[in-house]
Symmetry: C2
């Protein structure tokens, strides 16, 4: 940034689309980000904010006055205005709402009444609907009077006389049928409207299942409220898949990668604190056997290997189960089969690694008894790790706790503590 002057930056930005500028802003440290942001033409700032993640959006909005926010949102669709309004404090939000004409204000206020991660929060009110009892000819003439159709329009929504949603009319159908045909004879009524309170995750699933490009959002009486398009769904799918990855380290997928270090540290501290408790618990297990370790130091040297192998084996199983749960492939009916399969995998791996590591210990310490104890502890820990790796996410899911978030730490608690306990316990009984 420093090596370019403002004119060069402006020139560069003029060759980029809004998504690209949003990505650049997300990839830029805070101080330089502010400089770049000010180099963006104000007419493009609104569109760019619809592509940045929540935390970056809030960061960029922070530098604007209320009247500037009103200006940059002028040309946005109502769902995007609602998104931005959600990141504002209530006085700025009121100023923004007051600046809109009545139709847009109503649309934005409606969007704000639905949680962000529901169909209502995702929808745009920018859609075209037609009556079922008119002919295609009427529809064609109506479209021509509009002059321009909303972006990504692949179908029109069809309503009956009471304004209720009855189906959709694909543009491809409109183009290939006779002009005298009535809309109601060629509309696609297989795809129902999506209720406004449907969670985003189910919306994505609905789109994928039916290969949709757009879908109508309806209220309880089946009146059309808005539409959701495939580009919203792509965002949902990306965020959902990233959630699992980030949550397993106690992180949020909306995190600004250049958030101030102090704020980032504060967030992560909680996770480290929880981990500390589980680590202390494992240490207390070791503490039970301090007399054994004092006599046979090899125990202290070898015990981390058992814990580590259990942790990896359990994590492999847990990762598969968490993913199967997230994609809806695991339910009560097949979880028993998966549990049996994973435990069998644990048994196979347990036997293989018990033999191999037992031989390694024999070679290293030339102690047959120690080697047998190590092998037994390895077998038990790998077997339990697989079982726990499958059970913990299943139990958490049933308790309505996010398995992606909590499984890892709970699993490590089991594999560490149990690994130490079995190995040190067996050694204490047999060797001392």
């Amino acid at each position: 940034v420093e090596s370019h002057n403002l004119e060069q930056i402006k020139d560069l930005f003029s060759h980029l689309v809004e998504e690209e500028i949003a990505e650049i802003l997300e990839s830029t440290p805070l101080k330089e980000r502010q400089i770049l942001w000010e180099a963006v033409e104000s007419t493009r700032q609104g569109e760019i904010l619809t592509h940045t993640n929540d935390e970056v959006t809030a960061n960029l909005l922070g530098s604007l006055e209320a009247h500037e926010i009103v200006e940059i949102t002028e040309d946005l669709e109502t769902d995007d205005i609602a998104d931005i309004a959600q990141s504002l404090d209530s006085s700025d939000q009121q100023t923004l709402l007051a600046s809109l004409d009545e139709g847009d204000r109503n649309a934005v206020e409606m969007a704000l009444t639905y949680p962000e991660d529901t169909a209502g929060g995702l929808m745009s009110t920018d859609l075209i609907s037609v009556r079922a009892d008119v002919s295609l000819d009427v529809v064609l003439r109506y479209l021509r009077t509009l002059g321009e159709l909303p972006e990504s329009t692949a179908e029109l929504f069809v309503r009956d006389r009471e304004g209720k949603f009855v189906g959709s009319l694909k543009l491809t159908v409109l183009l290939t049928h006779d002009e005298d045909t009535l809309v109601q004879t060629v509309l696609d009524s297989h795809i129902p409207g999506i209720r406004a309170f449907t969670p985003a995750k189910e919306v994505a699933h609905f789109f994928e299942k039916n290969d949709l490009l757009s879908a109508a959002v309806v209220n309880e009486t089946n009146q059309i409220l808005g539409r959701i398009t495939i580009d919203d769904v792509v965002d949902i799918i990306r965020e959902e898949a990233e959630h699992a990855q980030m949550a397993s380290a106690g992180l949020d997928e909306d995190e600004d990668i250049f958030a101030p270090a102090s704020r980032a540290a504060k967030r992560r501290t909680f996770w480290l604190g929880i981990n500390l408790l589980t680590a202390i618990f494992a240490s207390m297990v070791i503490g039970l056997f301090d007399a054994s370790i004092e006599k046979i130091v090899a125990l202290a040297i070898l015990m981390p290997i058992i814990a580590s192998m259990g942790g990896i084996a359990g994590t492999q199983t847990a990762t598969i189960v968490i993913r199967a749960l997230a994609t809806g492939k695991l339910a009560r009916s097949n979880s028993r089969s998966l549990l049996i399969k994973e435990t069998t995998v644990g048994l196979f791996n347990g036997v293989i690694w018990a033999v191999l590591t037992g031989l390694a210990v024999l070679f290293w310490f030339s102690d047959v008894a120690l080697s047998l104890i190590f092998a037994s502890a390895m077998l038990i820990n790998l077997l339990v790790a697989a079982f726990a790796g499958a059970m913990i996410p299943l139990i958490l899911q049933r308790m309505k706790i996010d398995p992606a978030l909590a499984s890892g730490l709970m699993l490590t608690t089991v594999t560490d503590s149990l690994g130490f306990f079995v190995f040190l316990g067996l050694a204490t009984i047999v060797l001392l």
Copy 2:
């Protein structure tokens, strides 16, 4: 499955779309899966196979004779036939290709020449293209003679007299402009064709950047070869995001969750083997200090806490860096800023947890010197963990090794071995 008879299953399937049946098959253990598969009408089997993941597809195809495979693929689009052909052994593949008419065979053979994860491997040849120098009226009449347009058609591709791709004609534009208008005056020429060898990941990025519903795939001379639609891109995005999650546990995102236990165990064994080497290395570090542990057993009790906290802190940083690399947000220009930020976070967290855990150790063991040593080791390990968590994925990326796959194990090697070394080393110098 056992509790339902075949008729009930067939009845249930008749109410489901192919995507749903594919999901059910993926979610069913192997033996029952075969029973369900045989209950599927053969006219739907081909379409279902296009929705199952690679390993499940191969499993289901395994039960079919070559002539059955020919039958079920009869009604598929050529890109889907190519997908299935890719999972067949070469004699079945030849039988399948021989059964196609010349046009389809050429299309499938062309698709097979491109790797599966490139634009050429993803594209379908089922598209409509029109000449640039005709009027919209001609296009409208042409579409009406076709009667039906390919699924998810939102735009037509426009070619010049030599068949070269010059842009796309959105259906929305076609519907809102005067019939006398020439195609070339209203076509959208901003979006270039995608070269056939473009990697899938870049295709997805291109779609997201430009908010596309479909795009043309072209050869080196800009001739139209096929088209990619947004539903293919949704699959790419999902797989890519899941890859990071699965790879961190050494797993493949294409894995059949009900693969036979012996096969699953064999795959995971490699990962456990690599982990064993790193665990043995950490144990050897402990072995260096066996005399110290013999004298002060508290060292053996406390050392796993330092390793564990370092592992978690490092993983948090690595997860953020891996994700930023995968989404293209991290490059040479901003990696230094991120490294500084993450190391600062590590310093903050190091100080906080050094103080807190130091006090806990003082309370537990009533030993001031031990407590100070513990706190110092904690600070050093958290600081190094953050630095290594950021550096390791960056270095792996530069070495063209998948950071999602290898970062975790390398990081644990550092945080475990270093944690043990610093803590036991300091204790040996100061206390003994």
